[in-house]
Structures are given as structure tokens and as C-alpha cells.
């Protein structure tokens, strides 16, 4: 029930810049995911919001008021950790009641709140258990209950389900989403699992090397990644080297229409596997089928196109294609990333082209 502003937030550990001038806003009731590879600074960013790390510079504001100077125990945030952090010498009840007790609530109020919190995470009746008597998934649900029972303004979650198995992870993820919707709580969820981020988030902040590369709705991130890093990191993407010249892209021996306003020179063409169809005899890319993987509801095919390289495509229904057979590909939609003068190692999307079918 609050808005969070991250303002030019930077954290350096010695010479390492863990978070580099992060700037974004999490709106009231919004579920924001921070997604990025290991070591990109996700936890550091979250820990600065929680108050466990002091920012090197920048500001953190909740509803417009700075909290950067407050110690962790005075901040209206609550965190669920990646590790199991239930206190082993306390029962489930005491774990959840601990924070409430500090707020000098009456015993009956505390009992009521603990009961509700346990109901919310479907663990009614577990009050008297010790953490060692719970499974990993149950422990993380208690940790979630311990955090939300305090009605924090911002709920922070640092890969809370990453040590659980895949099925449980999906279930808890759905449960978390339901709870967040019901309580209308502002939440930041850190993960390196893109499926988790794509399915949970209202918006995703993709981080790399301490910087936020893109902050958008999941569908936007997927359809138009704004940097080459995001294009490569999210989903499956064919990244092909190409040259831009005369309003055309030269990919090996083949040509594709270039987006408007593209400067000439080396570029990277990014094509989603599902944006490639078979056929197109005249302009199609001819090659051979290298691998066919039947994934149940669709097939993943890796085609070898001489001069272009390997191209992955997804096809739901198709005439039987066997490995080694000739194949002709026809890209329908692609993104072009051009070296950016300001950021020499980075390519930026110069525009998307939808091919006329």
C-alpha cells in the first residue's frame, strides 16, 4: 500500500560497483520483479531497500519520504530471504508473533493475526511446530507469513523459492501472486528465473552488471527487448551477425529489409524462433535440418543455414521433418541491434520490422 522510489541508487563494494545508479518507481500495489543473472546486483539492490546495506549514493523513498537514513529495524519493509531464516529455537507461532510482539499488541490481537497469516499461507494448525519439523516449502511459507503479518508497506522477496523443486516453486509462485493480489501489497521479487518473473510480474526490471537494462511489462520485455543483453537473456533468441547497407540487412547470402533510420555498418539481427515460418521459395533461407526435438505440444528445430549459422525455430504442426532433410526458412519479424557510440560494447534495438506475409 505504498509507492517506492529508487533514485540514482548506487552501491560500491571496494572497487566493485554492485548497483550502478538504479532509478525506478514501484507503484502502489504493483508486483515488480528484478530479473538478472547471478552477481548482477539484484540482492544488493533489495538489501539496500531493506536497510541491510548502506547505499554509496542515491536515495530510497517510500510514499515520497526518504528512508535511506533509517536502520533496518525502523523501516516499513519486510523481507523473505532466499535462505531458510526461521529462528530454529522458536515455534512457527513464535516466529510469526515475534515482530507483532515488538509492536506491543495485545495477546488476543497477536493470536488473531498469526492465525490469519497462517491461513493465508495454508498452514493452519502448524503453530506448535519447530522449523526443523517443516519441509523447505513450508518453511518459506512461514517466512512469507512472518513478513506479511506485519502489513509492511513494501514486501521484499529475494529468490524465496529458488531452493525448492520445480513443481513446488510453481505452486508457491501462484500462491504468492494470489496473496499479493488479495492484500494489495507493493512487492519487489528478485529472481534469476525468467519464467518466474514473466509469470508473476506486473513489470520486470532486467538487470545486468549493476545496471537496469530495461523496465517494462513482461510482454514488452519479451517482444521488444531494448538491449542486446535483454534480447539474449529473455527467452530464446536467434542472434545473427549482419551488415546494414543501402536500406537492407545482409545476413550471409540473404537479404532482409532494414528498419527505417538504420545507420550502415555491423549490426546484430535478433529473431525469435516462433517468428520464423517454413517456405518462401524465392527469398527463403535454404539449409538442412540439424536437430528435431519433440517437446510435446510443439517441436524445436535447429536448422543449419550455410553462411548464416544455426537457426532455432518452433513449429506446432508441420509435415514430418527428419534430421538431415533440406529446409527453407522465412523470417517474419526481427529486431536489429546496432553498436551504440556511447556504450561501445552494447547494441541497441534500432527498430522492429514486421515482414509482409
Amino acid at each position: 500500500m505504498a509507492r517506492l522510489d529508487i533514485v540514482q541508487l548506487t552501491k560500491q563494494f571496494g572497487g566493485v560497483t554492485a548497483v550502478d545508479a538504479a532509478q525506478f518507481t514501484v507503484n502502489d500495489n504493483e508486483f515488480m520483479c528484478i530479473l538478472g543473472p547471478s552477481g548482477c546486483g539484484k540482492s544488493t539492490l533489495l538489501r539496500m531497500v531493506a536497510g541491510f546495506e548502506a547505499p554509496t549514493s542515491g536515495d530510497i523513498r517510500i510514499d515520497g519520504e526518504t528512508i535511506a537514513a533509517l536502520p533496518a529495524n525502523k523501516r516499513p519493509t519486510a523481507m523473505v530471504f532466499q535462505k531458510y531464516t526461521l529462528w530454529p529455537h522458536m515455534t512457527v507461532y513464535d516466529n510469526i508473533a515475534f515482530g507483532l510482539g515488538l509492536r506491543r499488541l495485545s495477546r488476543s490481537v497477536i493470536e488473531q493475526k498469526v492465525k490469519e497469516a497462517l491461513e493465508l499461507v495454508s498452514l493452519s494448525g502448524y503453530e506448535a511446530r519447530y522449523p526443523a519439523q517443516l519441509s523447505g516449502g513450508q518453511q518459506q511459507r512461514v517466512a512469507l507469513a512472518r513478513a506479511i503479518v506485519l502489513e509492511p508497506k513494501i514486501l521484499l522477496l529475494d529468490e524465496p523459492f529458488s531452493s525448492l523443486d520445480a513443481i513446488l516453486r510453481v505452486r508457491l509462485r501462484e500462491e504468492l501472486k494470489r496473496i499479493q493480489r488479495r492484500l494489495k501489497i507493493t512487492a519487489i521479487f528478485v529472481t534469476h528465473d525468467q519464467e518466474e518473473a514473466l509469470s508473476l510480474a506486473d513489470r520486470i526490471a532486467v538487470m545486468s552488471g549493476g545496471r537496469i537494462e530495461q523496465l517494462d511489462a513482461p510482454s514488452t520485455i519479451y517482444s521488444t527487448p531494448s538491449t542486446l543483453f535483454v534480447a539474449d537473456f529473455i527467452g530464446t533468441m536467434n542472434l545473427l551477425q549482419a551488415t546494414a547497407a543501402g536500406g537492407e540487412l545482409r545476413v550471409g547470402d540473404y537479404r532482409l529489409p532494414a528498419p527505417a533510420g538504420l545507420k550502415e555498418g555491423q549490426v546484430t539481427v535478433a529473431i525469435r524462433p516462433e517468428d520464423v515460418v517454413l517456405g518462401g521459395e524465392g527469398t527463403g533461407w535454404r539449409g538442412t535440418v540439424d536437430q528435431v526435438m519433440d517437446l510435446g505440444h510443439y517441436r524445436k528445430i535447429i536448422a543449419q543455414i550455410p553462411g548464416v549459422g544455426d537457426v532455432k525455430i518452433y513449429l506446432s504442426k508441420m509435415p514430418d521433418v527428419s534430421e538431415g532433410a533440406p529446409i527453407t526458412l522465412n523470417p517474419q519479424r526481427w529486431l536489429v541491434y546496432q553498436p551504440d557510440a556511447a556504450l561501445p560494447l552494447e547494441y541497441r534495438r534500432a527498430g522492429a520490422v514486421e515482414a509482409a506475409v
Partner: protein
């Protein structure tokens, strides 16, 4: 008949050996440990207990030739023993308390803070145990002599404190290090002040290790004789020191046995207390023991 007997006997032995080997195979280490423990602990214990209740014990007999309590009366009617026993208990408690006061905050600092020279300082506590103890004591005694601490209670307390440092620093330090930081952070996160986090989260989790350290320190101090002998005599006499002189001056085995028996009491009592503490519900349940 004559041929059957060896067969039966060998049968018996082969079966015994078989089942013994099976047991050893199944739980080999446990049995080995039990046998070794029994020999190391129960052997001397057995002889001391028997001696403590023996009136007479002549050579070829496996048990005392006459049991009785007359030596107990003689032992405790001695003024030196009646004085040394309570003194020793109070002294050990004092040394343990002082040691805790000095070492526990230090070990918390060692575990939680990163300061220059931390490693070296931590290792320096090993130094007190890395060299022949008596050499260290002699050089300390020389200093104490100049400071007029020889034969005084503070002198004995000081030298016994030196003895406790290693244990009281190293065990609690590793215990504090064993407490995951994020458990403390989680407590801060729900609003607990750092002091409350320490008292309600950190301390209960290191309690088993701390009680073990306190217990061992108390017992070690109670039995410590070298330092007390060197610094305490002639005026300060602890139980173990007294035992030395009794054994050396009067060859009455029963005195030594009875005093040993009595000296075991504190450690047995404390072990029972420790077991109670460890079994007292929350710790064991909490750690899934």
C-alpha cells in the same frame, strides 16, 4: 563323548564369533568406540570407586578384601580437606565467571567483526596451549613473585584464567560464527533492535555451545593443579593441590581415591545439568536432534 565335546565347544565359539563379527560389521564403529570408552573411562573409575570404599585390599584379590567407610570419616575430619573443598568450588566459579566476562564479548567480536590483526589475535590464544604449560607458568610465577602475587588468591585466579582463555574464546567464537547472519537480519527486519536480536535470537542459538564452554571451563579449573600449585602454595591450597600433597606424603591410597571420587561430583553434576539443558525441549526440537 570325548569327541563330541570339542565339537560342541568349537561350535559354540564359531557361532559366538559369527554373531560377534556380524554385530561388528553392522555397527563396527559404535562397538569399537564403546569398548575403547569402557576401557579408558570405566577402568580407572572402577578401581578408584573400589579403593574409595575399601578398608583393606590385599594383592591377589580382584576386589577389596574388606569394604568400609572408615576412611571417609578420616578424610573429611581433616581440617585441610574441609577447607579446600568449598574454597575450590568458589574459586572455580569465580574464575569461570571472570573468564566468561572477558572472553564472551571478545569471541562475539571475533565472530562478527572484521578488524585488523583478527586472525593473529585469535591464533595467539592457541599459543597459551601450544607450549609446555609448565614453562609458561614458571615465567608467569617469576612475574607474580615481583608483584607479590605468589601465595595469594588473586594470583591463583589470574593463572587459572590464562588456562581458560583458549576454550572460552574458541568455542564461543565458532558458535557465534555458526549463527547465520540472515537469521539476525530477519529479526532486525521485523523490527527488533540490535540488542534484542542478540538476546532473543543469537544467544539462544549459541546457548548449547556456551554452556559447554562454561561447563568445561569450570571443570578444567576445578581440576587444575599445576598453576595453583606453583602460584598458590603455601597459603592457597585447592583440592587437586591438596590431593597431590596427600598422595605424596602419606601413602594411603584411600585418601586419593576418596578425594578423586569427591572431585568427580561437580563434573558429574554439571554433566547432568547440561543434559537436562540440552534435552529441555526447545533446543533439541529446534535443531531437529
Amino acid at each position: 563323548m570325548t569327541t563330541a565335546q570339542p565339537t560342541l565347544a568349537s561350535d559354540f565359539w564359531s557361532r559366538t564369533r559369527h554373531s560377534f563379527l556380524a554385530t561388528v560389521k553392522r555397527d563396527g564403529f559404535g562397538w569399537l568406540a564403546l569398548v575403547v570408552l569402557a576401557m579408558v573411562i570405566l577402568g580407572p573409575l572402577y578401581s578408584v570407586v573400589l579403593w574409595a570404599f575399601a578398608e583393606r585390599w590385599q594383592y591377589p584379590s580382584l576386589v577389596p578384601t574388606q569394604f568400609g567407610l572408615s576412611f571417609w570419616e578420616k578424610t573429611f575430619s581433616r581440617a585441610d580437606i574441609a577447607e579446600a573443598l568449598p574454597f575450590s568450588i568458589v574459586l572455580s566459579l569465580t574464575v569461570t565467571a571472570l573468564s566468561a566476562l572477558i572472553c564472551l564479548p571478545a569471541s562475539y567480536a571475533f565472530a562478527r567483526m572484521r578488524f585488523r590483526g583478527r586472525q593473529v589475535l585469535l591464533l595467539s590464544f592457541l599459543a597459551t596451549n601450544a607450549f609446555p604449560r609448565f614453562g609458561l607458568y614458571v615465567s608467569i610465577a617469576v612475574i607474580f613473585f615481583r608483584l607479590n602475587l605468589i601465595g595469594t588468591v588473586p594470583g591463583v585466579i589470574l593463572i587459572q584464567l590464562v588456562n581458560t582463555l583458549l576454550l572460552m574464546i574458541w568455542i564461543p567464537t565458532s558458535a557465534f560464527q555458526g549463527v547465520d547472519r540472515s537469521l539476525e537480519e530477519a529479526a532486525l527486519d521485523v523490527g527488533a533492535s540490535p540488542l534484542r536480536v542478540f538476546i532473543q535470537i543469537t544467544l539462544p542459538m549459541v546457548m548449547p555451545a556456551l554452556s559447554a564452554a562454561l561447563l568445561l571451563t569450570f571443570v578444567n579449573t576445578f581440576y587444575e593443579a599445576q598453576g595453583a600449585l606453583l602460584v598458590g602454595l603455601p597459603r592457597v591450597v585447592t583440592m587437586p593441590v591438596l590431593m597431590y600433597s596427600l598422595i605424596n606424603s602419606q601413602l594411603v591410597v584411600q585418601y586419593g581415591a576418596i578425594i578423586s571420587f569427591v572431585l568427580w561430583m561437580p563434573s558429574l553434576l554439571l554433566l547432568l545439568v547440561a543434559q537436562r539443558l540440552l534435552r529441555g525441549g526447545y533446543l533439541t526440537a529446534g535443531f531437529g536432534v
